[in-house]
């Protein structure tokens, strides 16, 4: 497919921005200046100021002589880049690949995008009119190469849209500055009387290289399409993405549902043919008022089932605020994974953790109560009770080691051991009586102690001597003494309850 690029040039980027922020500045002469070698040099001038003959590079003192009521503002470091980034992000609704072109432009890869807006002319008009409505003096051009589009956006006089393979004739009458050359090269070309690109376009490459260096050749070849030019997108493109622009802004939940369904159907059929499934998906809704709202889902295992993914999004629809309406939906799948072909159920046995319906159920629960609320535990080779299990990362994660059953562990474990008061008659014997939550328990039978040493390489502190005890009611508890028996106040804790 022939690549198509669009370049947008903001003629008065910084001054337009100030005029938008301070409407009283509109249609007045003002400049932005920065100190340089002790003088204030103008870095940007508004359109009325330019019409009075003020241009960038002038000193403020000279400009004041031209225009008496000139307002001067201090330049802000990196402001242009910030503005361009903001404008670029806004343009992502038109194409996924948007790049910043300092000091005052944007480059957009529009390959395969324009027909969604009814052709390149309507597409260009839409973008430029939107930017102008915001208050930015923007010019745009479309061509086969970034170089040609850049040149036409700034120096074009005839048509902003250059047909395929017509870039040579379009730029031949333009000045060399349209090739994005260094100032010295431009100066040299001017001295030699080469005032249009056409005048040196046909010269042999060796001649040009010898006189002007390599850069002029690269730029020329890039503009003519003999050499590729890479642009660095503002937002890295997502491999799996579907876009749905809407003719009319969508405001209703039903509309959003239909949009999600369409996007999912497209994305899932693509993924299914690749043998992959969605693990994480994000729906981005671009609104008429320029804001973007998004909703995300994630699954426990790759899925390309439209109905399941739609159900997950169904829980999120209420969180999407359409406000004045949504004009573009983008569905991205930042995380996909290869999925095994489904095994048909052969046996009557329950399929266990590999079951698809279980994965779908957990996705649904996670959508409502959060993925953190769901946990599965695997054994870890630690004796310290709190460390003897850990949460499994995935549903499929296999057992790292066997579950130990040789030591009796309580069915209910307190998240944090609670202190108890005890009466122990003999050191290193289980207590006779303990008081937990103001209730006195007389111990009838006891097992223990089971000493569990603290893992000194992990944390500091006393070891624990655990006792399994049974009181007169028949309730069984897991108690421990922290550290060795000590006549003056050994601390006892209750940690769990046995069945």
């Amino acid at each position: 497919m022939q690549k198509r690029f669009m370049c947008i040039w903001f003629r008065h980027l910084l001054t337009d921005w100030l005029a938008i922020r301070h409407p009283e500045l509109k249609d007045t002469a003002f400049v932005i200046a920065a100190p340089e070698r002790g003088r204030m040099i103008i870095t940007a001038a508004s359109l009325p100021a330019e019409q009075q003959g003020i241009h960038t590079g002038m000193t403020v003192a000279d400009a004041r002589a031209v225009s008496t009521n000139l307002k001067v503002f201090d330049a802000e470091e990196g402001k242009a880049a910030k503005l361009l980034r903001m404008l670029g992000l806004r343009c992502i609704r038109y194409s996924p690949i948007v790049a910043i072109d300092l000091p005052a432009g944007l480059m957009i890869d529009i390959t395969g995008c324009a027909h969604l807006w009814g052709g390149e002319r309507a597409y260009l008009k839409e973008i430029i009119l939107k930017l102008r409505a915001k208050g930015f003096d923007a010019r745009g051009a479309i061509a086969d190469t970034v170089g040609a589009a850049w040149a036409v956006a700034r120096f074009g006089k005839v048509s902003p849209i250059i047909a395929g393979n017509a870039q040579a004739s379009a730029i031949s009458s333009m000045p060399p500055a349209a090739l994005r050359l260094e100032a010295e090269v431009q100066e040299l070309l001017r001295k030699l009387g080469l005032n249009t690109i056409g005048s040196f376009m046909q010269m042999p490459a060796s001649v040009l290289r010898r006189r002007f260096g390599n850069s002029i050749l690269t730029r020329l070849r890039q503009a003519l399409g003999f050499e590729d030019e890479r642009i660095i997108p503002l937002v890295p493109p997502v491999m799996h993405q579907e876009r749905l622009p809407c003719l009319e802004p969508i405001k209703t939940a039903t509309g959003i549902e239909i949009a999600i369904q369409q996007l999912l159907a497209q994305l899932c059929s693509q993924l299914q043919s690749e043998g992959r499934g969605i693990r994480k998906a994000i729906l981005k809704c671009y609104r008429v008022d320029g804001k973007m709202v998004q909703a995300g889902i994630s699954t426990n295992r790759g899925s390309y089932s439209v109905s399941h993914l739609f159900n997950l999004f169904g829980l999120q629809i209420s969180k999407i605020e359409p406000a004045l309406g949504i004009e573009l939906f983008i569905l991205e799948a930042p995380k996909v994974e290869e999925i095994d072909p489904l095994q048909e159920q052969l046996w009557a046995n329950k399929p266990g953790l590999q079951d698809n319906s279980l994965a779908e159920l957990l996705d649904k629960l996670a959508g409502k109560v959060g993925a953190n609320a769901i946990s599965r535990y695997l054994p870890v080779e630690h004796y310290w009770p709190e460390r003897s299990v850990r949460r499994a990362a995935t549903l499929q994660e296999p057992l790292p080691t066997n579950w130990r059953a040789n030591r009796l562990r309580p069915v209910r474990l307190l998240a944090r051991p609670e202190t108890i008061e005890v009466m122990a008659l003999i050191p290193d014997y289980p207590p006779k009586i303990f008081i937990y939550r103001n209730k006195r328990h007389t111990i009838q039978k006891a097992d223990g102690p089971e000493r569990i040493e603290r893992e000194w390489w992990l944390d500091q502190g006393e070891h624990r001597d655990y006792y399994t005890v049974e009181d007169t009611d028949g309730c069984r508890y897991w108690l421990f003494r922290s550290g060795h028996f000590d006549s003056d106040g050994t601390q006892w804790y209750i940690h769990g309850f046995f069945a």
């Binding site: 130990r404 069915v411 209910r412 474990l413 039978k445 309730c475």
Partner: protein, 240 residues
């Protein structure tokens, strides 16, 4: 004559059970829980799977006893594979302990939610999922409508549900059986000092179309051992 009348009555009784949502287990899925005399209390003498069981808990010791009893039942339900969901508001179950009751703890998925209504919502969703062996939920209270919803869900999916319910705020519910499990002092093993096997007083307070009763059960060597009401004499009857 009397023989045919008997047939008609028993057939009608079976029909009523079917209309009430009770389905006799087909022979290939029938599990033996080894509950012995307790199973006889249920219709057809079979522990009802694909139904909702309620376990009343008063305090954390009773919750622990109920947890152990349910885990012992789970070991049978999960024998043919399958996973189970344990839904609650704060997790107190210590997974390694389930191994004692014959359950593989890594096949139990714990869901801990913030709000009580989410517990019942999650339980209902989980009960609709045929891929699960069982679902356990811990709630403080439940009204009749909520229990009816759960009952309708299990009638479709045949998943067994257990609800650990706070005994304090008890209402009318549509559950198949209502239990109360209380810890009892254990008997020493071979006259050795220390604790014996976990022993419970199992009260079946309510059972649909069955006979409520009370038994003493012990979990030893991965199976239930039940003691007859004449337990004071120490007569031991191996169940199953």
């Amino acid at each position: 004559m009397s023989d045919t009348r008997q047939n008609i009555i028993s057939k009608l009784q079976k029909d009523i059970l079917l209309w009430e949502g009770f389905r006799p287990p087909s022979s290939d899925t029938a599990e033996t829980f080894g509950l012995g005399p307790v199973e006889a209390a249920f219709p057809n003498g079979v522990f009802p799977t694909g139904a909702i069981h309620e376990l009343l808990t008063e305090d954390i010791s009773q919750a622990a006893a109920s947890g152990g009893f349910v885990a012992a039942l789970l070991s049978v339900l999960m024998r043919r594979g399958g996973a189970c969901l344990w839904i609650g508001m704060a997790q107190t179950v210590f997974p390694p302990a389930l191994k004692t009751f014959g359950v593989e703890p890594h096949r139990v998925i714990f869901v801990n939610v913030l709000h009580e209504k989410d517990v019942l919502w999650a339980m209902e969703e989980a009960l609709k999922c045929t891929g699960l062996a069982a679902v356990i939920a811990e709630v403080r209270s439940m009204d009749f409508k909520q229990s009816r919803r759960l009952q309708l869900a299990v009638e479709q999916s045949r998943v067994t549900g257990f609800i650990l319910l706070d005994a304090g705020q008890l209402g009318n519910t549509a559950c198949t059986a209502r239990w109360r499990i209380t810890s009892l002092p254990s008997e020493p093993i071979d006259d050795l000092p220390g604790l014996g096997h976990p022993r419970w007083q199992v009260d079946l307070l309510r059972v649909r179309n069955g006979k409520p009763g009370s038994w003493v059960m012990e979990w030893a060597d991965e199976k239930f051992i039940s003691y007859t009401p004449a337990l004071q004499q120490g007569i031991l009857i191996q169940a199953g």
